[in-house]
Amino acid sequence: MAAFLFRRLMQSALILLGVSFITFVLLYVLPADPVRQIAGRAATAQTVENIRQQLGLDQPFVVQYGRYLLALVQGDLGRSYLQKTEVVDLILSRLPATLLLMMAGISAELVLGLSMGIAAALMRGRLGDQVLMMMSFVTVSAPQFVVSLLMLYVFAVKLGWFPIGGYGTAAHLVLPALTLGILGSGWYSRMMRSSMIEVLRADYIRTARAKGLGRARVVLRHALPNAVLPIIAMIGIDIGIFMGGIVVVESVFGWPGIGQLAWQAIQRVDIPIIMGVTLVSALAIVIGNLLADLIAPFIDPRIRLR
C-alpha cells in the first residue's frame, strides 16, 4: 500500500511536469501577444518593449520555462499580468467555490446517472429504457452553454425558483450543480446500464434469486456493488471532462470559481493564470484518479494495491 502510494505520487509528479511543459509550449507559440494586452492600444513601441523585458518575455523559451519551473517547485505560480496579484492567492481565494460546485456537481451526475442507468437496465428493451436512453443521448450531445442558458432561463428567469446567478446560499448552488449533473448524467447512465445488464446476467445473481431474496435486495445488495466497480474508475477519468464543463457553467452562472477565473484569463491572455489554473485542474484529475484507485478495494476485495 505504501509502495503503491509512493509509486503513484511519483507518477503524478511526472504527469504534472508534462502538463506544465505542454501548456507552456502552447502558450508560447500562441499568436496573441500578452504584452499588447497589458500595454493597451495607445502604448508606444518602447513601452511595449519595456514591459516585455520586465516580464522576462524577451528571453528564450528554455530560460522562461526554467524560471517558471524553479518558481513552481517553491510553490510560486507567478503574478497575474493584469491583476497584479499572486496567482496562488487568486486561485486559493476561488478554489473553495469551485470545490463546492465540483462536489455538488459530481454528486448530482452520479445520482442522476446511476439511477437512470439502473432503471434502464431493469426495464431493458421496454419503453422506459428507450426513453431514458434517448434522454441520455440528448444530454451527452447537448452543448454545455446551451443547457446552462436553458436552465437559467427556465428556472431562474421564467419560474424564478432560484437566483439568476452568484454565490453564497444553497439556492445559488442548485442550478449550476444541477446543470453539471444533467450534462454528466447521460454518460454515466449509459455506462451504468451496460454494466448493470452484464452483472444481472451473472451466475451469482441467479444464486441470489435461487436463495429467495427479494428483487430490491438482489439489485441493490448483489448487483449494484459489482456494477458500480467499472464506473468508479471512470469517475477519475471524467474529472477532466468535468473541469471543461465547470469553466462554462461558472461563467454562465457567475459562479466565482477558478473556471470563471480561467475564462477571463484566456480572454486577456493572462498567461500565469492560465498556467496556474491548468496545473490545478491537472492536479484535480490526478487526485481524482488516485482516489478512484484507493476506493476500489473497499468495494471489491479482490483488488489489492501493490
Binding site: A3, F6, R7, A202, D203, Y204, R206, T207, A208, R209, A210, K211, G212, L213, G214, R217, R221, H222, P225, N226, I299, D300, P301, R302, R306
Partner: protein, 596 residues
Amino acid sequence: MTVAAAPLSGAVAAPDALPVLSVEGLTVSVRTEHGLRPLVRDLSFHVNRGETLAIAGESGSGKSLTSLAIMGLLPFPAVRATAGRIRLGATDLTALPEAQMRRIRGDRIAMIFQEPMSSLNPVLTIGTQLIEAICAHQDVSPSAAQTAALAALTSVRLSHPKRRMAQYPHELSGGMRQRVMIAMALALRPEVLIADEPTTALDVTVQREVLDLLRDLQRDLGTAIILITHDMGVVAEMADRVIVMKSGAMVEQAPVGSLFKAPAKAYTRDLLAAVPRMGQRIERPEPTTAPPVARLQDVIVRFPLKGGLFGRTVQQVHAVEKVSFDIRRGETFALVGESGCGKSTIAKAMVGLVPHQGSITLAGQTLSGLNRDQMKAVRRRVQMVFQDPMAALNPRKTAGDLIAEPLLIHDIGTPDDRRNAAADLMRRVGLSNDQLDRYPHEFSGGQRQRICIARALALKPDLIIADESVSALDVSVQARVLNLLRELQQELGLAYLFISHDMAVVDNISDRVAVMYLGQIVEMGSRAQVFSNPQHPYTQRLIEAVPVPDPAHIRPPGVRLSGDIPSPLYPAGSGPAPVVLQDIGGGHLVAQSWTR
C-alpha cells in the same frame, strides 16, 4: 420448516410414498419471431423424499431449463413454461405469483449450480451470503442466523468454518466454494435440492468429495435430490432413478440398475456405449523406437509476482519444476493431473508461448537458442488444438480461411493451392467441402473441434498438442472426435501430447502417461503400468476418484479423500522439494520422495 439454528443432522423419516415434487406435462417454450418454439416438451416425472432422481442428457437436451422451470427462474418473458404443472406437495408452483414463489425458493426448493467460481458474489463475504439466505425465510435474530450459518458450514465439512465466514469467495478453492453453495442450499433443509451439474467444473478428486458429501447429507436430511448431469459415471454412483432426455423430450425413465443393465431405447444404448470407461483395452500399435519428436529435459517454468517499492520479484509461482520426458514419433503421450498442476503450462512452453529454463528439443532443434525465423520453422512441426473450439476460431472467418490460415502465415502455395488444401483437410476430418464458406457459429461443437484439428493438420506437423481438446464435448461427440484422432494418427504417423484431466479418456487413447502434481511429474510409464499398477499415492487417488459408469460397481471402502492441493507459490529464492523419479522396472518411473 424447522428452526435453522439446529445442526444439519438428526431425525430422518423413512421415504414417504407420496412424491415431494411432481411435474406433469411440462412444456417450456421460447418466444421467437415465428411464435412459441418448445424447448422442453410434455415432460412428466416425480421425485420422492430421500430419493435421487438423475436427469441425464447431452447439451441442448433441456435438462437445465427443466430445473430453472421448477425454480421459477426461467429468463422470463423470452422463455417460459407454456403448459403443464409443477407440484410441490399440494402446491401448484406454476400458478403461484412471484411474491409467493420467492418464499418457496431457497426454503423448500434449493439449487446448486455448475460454476462454483462464479456462483458466489465476489464482493460479499461467505458469512453474509449464508446469513441472508437464512434471514430471507426465517424471522430470526442476527446472532441466531449467524449460529445457523456456522452450523451449515460445519455440516459441509469445511475446515475452519468460523474463519470462512469472514472470507470472500476468491479466497476459497473451487471445491470449497461448491461446499459453501451446498451449505447455503441446505441451511434451511429444503424438501427438494436441484443440483445442476454440481461437480462438472471440479477436479476429479474434489468431485469425489462433493459427491460423498451430497450423499451423506441426503441420508441425514432425507432431501429429495434432482441431479442434472451429462456424466453417466456420476449418474451411476448417485441416482436411484434416471431420466434420459434428448432435444427437450424424455427418452427413457428407469431405475438406475436396469437402465445401465438393459437400456430400453437405442439412444440410451448409444449414449452409454459412448461413455469412456477405464480398463477398456483398445488395441494400440506397438511403440516405435524412432527418435523422439520432442524431448524435454529439466524444463522449469516460473511466473514471478512483483511487489514492493521497486517492483522486485517477491514470490514465484513454480508452475513447472524440472520436468523431463520424450514423445516418440507416432505415439500418444498423455499428461494428466488436476487444475493448476502445470500440464497446460508445459504445452505453452513447448510452442514458445511462455519462457522456460532447461531444454526443449523439437524436431531436433533446441528452442532456447533459436532466432525468430528458426522458431517459426520449428512451430510448423508442432500444432495445438485447444479446449474450447468456439473461442479458438475467429468468428469472422470462414472455415476454409481458418483452415488455410497456417499455410498463409508460413507462405505456402498459391491462394488456389491453399483452398484445395483446406478442402482436402475438411474431408479428412469428416466435414464436407460445401461447408468451406460457412462461419464457425454455423457448426456444432464437435464440428468446430474438427475444424480446429484440420487447421492443426494443415502444416503436416509431427506433433499435435491436444490441450483438453475433447473435455468440452458431449460424450457421443467426444467418442467420435477421439476416433478421428486415432485414425489420423495411424494414417499420418502423428504424435500427440494429450493433456487431460479425464482419466477414462486418457486410459482410452494414450500409449504412455505422465501424472503431474504441483508442477512435477510423480509417475510416468506405459498406460498399462500407470493404470493397472499405479504406485504413487496421488495416481492411486486420481484413479480411485473417477466415477464408474456402472451402478453395480462397489467402491472399496478406502480412505475418504479430503483436503486441498497446496499452492505452488513460494517466496523468491525457495521452491518445492525436488521429486526424484526411480525406475521400478520396464520404464515405469515413480517418485521416490514426496511430501504430503
